[in-house]
Each structure stands twice: as structure tokens, then as C-alpha cells.
């Protein structure tokens, strides 16, 4: 494997977009090539530098205008026409489309998780207890919940803990742990599981990536606008793989 060939894959390697096999090949080359190692380090430094760029949040003025727009369009004839057409389609489609869109309890729960995530980001109430120390966050839930949520420190995996808060899903209190990757917030909702362990369910709801699984008597929902691959990385870190 020559430096030139590795060079072609360098960015994909740094971005963790290579599959395991290709990634292993690059790693093999890096082990014996100081100049390629230096290039990787350079790219990583550049990445950190670029990510220190400002993140521009939407001004309140814009948010208000857009919300007003959407509300107004609810009443507009365009949407009424669209809704009429949609109603027709539903009527024609009949029972079949109803069956197809029947929502499982998990679908409903996933919607609630998305709402919880969005709410936590919008009302500026991300955490009740702000700490990167799990020994501070875990005891904080004592007396506030009738269960003790597992709190993991994932700083070494690149997901520093931001804190925790008490939230409600489906009318019952749950623990919400907040982790960060760069500018992306990850909410991890934990509540006691009713049933047995369940494998990881992946879905995308309203543009957010969502993971759900159960184990050790707890039910977990992880949600973020982080890309799919990195959220998988997060879940694997939580599960301890």
C-alpha cells in the first residue's frame, strides 16, 4: 500500500467514512509511515480548527416570522385545497392506507421522544443539573425518580456528559441525560423497562435520528440531529461495546 493510495482515502479515514476493511488497510500503512501519520494529524487539527467556527442560531425575529407564516397557511386556501385533495386520496385509498399508517406504541413513543428533545433545546432548559461528572449527575436523580438511572461518562469516546434533567415521556417521569458531540446535543431518555431486553431499533423521525433499546431492566431512547453513524457510535459506547 503506497502513500499515494492512502492519500486518496485520507479524508474518508479522518471522517470515519471508510468501512472496517479499508480502514484497517489505512491503519496498517499509518503504523509504518510517519509522513502519512503527520498528514492525518494535520487533517485532524484542521478539523478541530474548523469546528471552532461560529454556529449561527436563527434570530428570534426569524423564528417568529416563520411560525406566523405556518399558522397563517393553515387557513390559506392553498392548504385547504391540498387538504381536500389529500382527504380525497385517503378516501379513495380507503382501509389499505389506514392499515399501512397504523401506529405502533413505539411510533407514538418515538414522537414523544422527538417532542421532548425539541422542547429541551427550545425552551433553554436542557439540564437541571449541569455537570460533566457522573458522580454528581447520578445522585441528583435520587428522590426525584423511583428508579436509579445508569449514568455513563463517555468523554473518552468523544461524547462528553453535559448534565441531566427530569423529563416526562408518556405522562411518566424519566431521566434525561444530555451528551454533546461538537455542536450536537444528544438526549438519552431512561426509564424502567416493562418487558425483556429488546435489540436496538433505529429510525428517523422528523429529521432526527432515534435509537431505542432495552436492557438491564431499563428502556433507552437516544435522539440527536447528529448523523446516523455517529449516533450509532454513541449507542455502542453506552451499551459498552
Amino acid at each position: 500500500m503506497s502513500c499515494e493510495v492512502v492519500n486518496q482515502d485520507l479524508d474518508a479515514y479522518v471522517d470515519r467514512e471508510l468501512d472496517t476493511e479499508a480502514s484497517t488497510v489505512v491503519q496498517g500503512h499509518l503504523a509504518g509511515c510517519a509522513s502519512c501519520r503527520a498528514r492525518v494529524a494535520e487533517r485532524q487539527a484542521l478539523g478541530r480548527f474548523v469546528r471552532s467556527a461560529p454556529y449561527y442560531s436563527a434570530p428570534d425575529r426569524l423564528r417568529a416570522r416563520v411560525a406566523a407564516q405556518a399558522t397563517q397557511s393553515r387557513l390559506s386556501s392553498r392548504v385547504l385545497a391540498w387538504a381536500t385533495a389529500a382527504a380525497l386520496v385517503v378516501a379513495i385509498g380507503g382501509g389499505v392506507s389506514l392499515l399501512r399508517t397504523a401506529r405502533t406504541p413505539d411510533d407514538v413513543a418515538a414522537e414523544a421522544v422527538v417532542d421532548g428533545h425539541v422542547r429541551s433545546l427550545m425552551v433553554d432548559h436542557l439540564v437541571d443539573v449541569q455537570s460533566t461528572d457522573r458522580h454528581t449527575v447520578k445522585p441528583w436523580f435520587l428522590g426525584k425518580l423511583d428508579f436509579s438511572p445508569p449514568v455513563a461518562d463517555l468523554t473518552e469516546s468523544g461524547f462528553p456528559l453535559v448534565g441531566g434533567r427530569l423529563d416526562y415521556l408518556d405522562g411518566r417521569p424519566v431521566a434525561a441525560l444530555v451528551y454533546q458531540r461538537q455542536q450536537h446535543t444528544i438526549n438519552l431518555f431512561i426509564s424502567p423497562a416493562d418487558g425483556a431486553s429488546a435489540p436496538i431499533d433505529s429510525r428517523t423521525v422528523r429529521g432526527f435520528h432515534v435509537r431505542h433499546w432495552s436492557g438491564d431492566g431499563m428502556s433507552f431512547w437516544a435522539i440527536s440531529d447528529l448523523n446516523d453513524r455517529e449516533l450509532t457510535e454513541f449507542v455502542n459506547a453506552i451499551i459498552g461495546r
Partner: protein
Amino acid sequence: MAARVFEATVLPHLDAAFNFARWLTRNDTEAEDVVQDACVRALRYFASLRDGDARAWFFAIVRNTWYSRVARRSGLTDTASFDRHEPFDDGPDPETQLLRQDTVVRVRGAIEQLPIEFREVLVLREIEGLSYKEIATVVRVPIGTVMSRLARARDRLQTTLTPTDPMETLP
């Protein structure tokens, strides 16, 4: 009903849309206008979003809105040459000069100077954290093109930043 679903689906990504638009336009007012227009379009085309990734879908609309604005304004069809017609900074004002050492200012300047086809993939990858596949959907080019643009964007940044500040000293 459609509008309500729209609010629940698209509005949560308003910050991301504005951030992306702000990097495309390099201007607050312009970015606001682009996002507002994009929302109108998103509302109109909302029915075309099928269980897909609403965030990438919205990014694509923001991007199209900006590109068609620039094309309309300059009467151009060649999107790659936009930057020649966009004004560059008039040079640093005294306050900016004082802040020259500030990393944030330097990184912002370096990114803003990239041609738009490099800037957009870089911002989507590094700041918005999209995967190559998602970027390919937004920019509507093959993944291979995303990769080569990203590599060239980074090469350019490295060249811009290296003479005055060797990479070793970067944070």
C-alpha cells in the same frame, strides 16, 4: 393539518437551516431572507417529503433557494462562478484587526473565503456533522464528488492558514 405537521417537522431544524444559510450567504440579513423563502417553499413542497430525513431535505431547499436567488440576481446559469460576482470583505476594520488573533475570527474568515462549492460541503460536514451520503443528497452530486470537494476545501484551508500560523500551533 399539513401546516401543523410542517411546524413539528421543519421548525426544529430552523437553527441548522439558518446556520447553513449564513455560511452560504455570509450575511445575516440575506440568510434570514433565504431561510424565510425556504420555509415558504418547504411548506409548498411538504407533501414531497416521505419519511425521509427532514433535515437534509430542508438543507437542500435552503441551498436551492440561495442558488436561485444568486442566479436571478446575476443572470448566471453557471453556479460555480458565483463567487466572482459576490463582494469580498472590504478588508478588516480596526476592530477586526484587533481581533485578528482571535481563532474564531480567523477560522470564519478562512471558511468564508472558500468558493461556494467547497464551502458548502465543508460546512455541512464539519459544522452540521452530515455524513457523505447526506451531503450528496443535499448538494445533489455523487459521493465521490463530495469527497473530492471536501479534500480540496481542506487543502485550500491548510494553504491559507499555514504561512502565518503553522498547523502545529492550531488548537
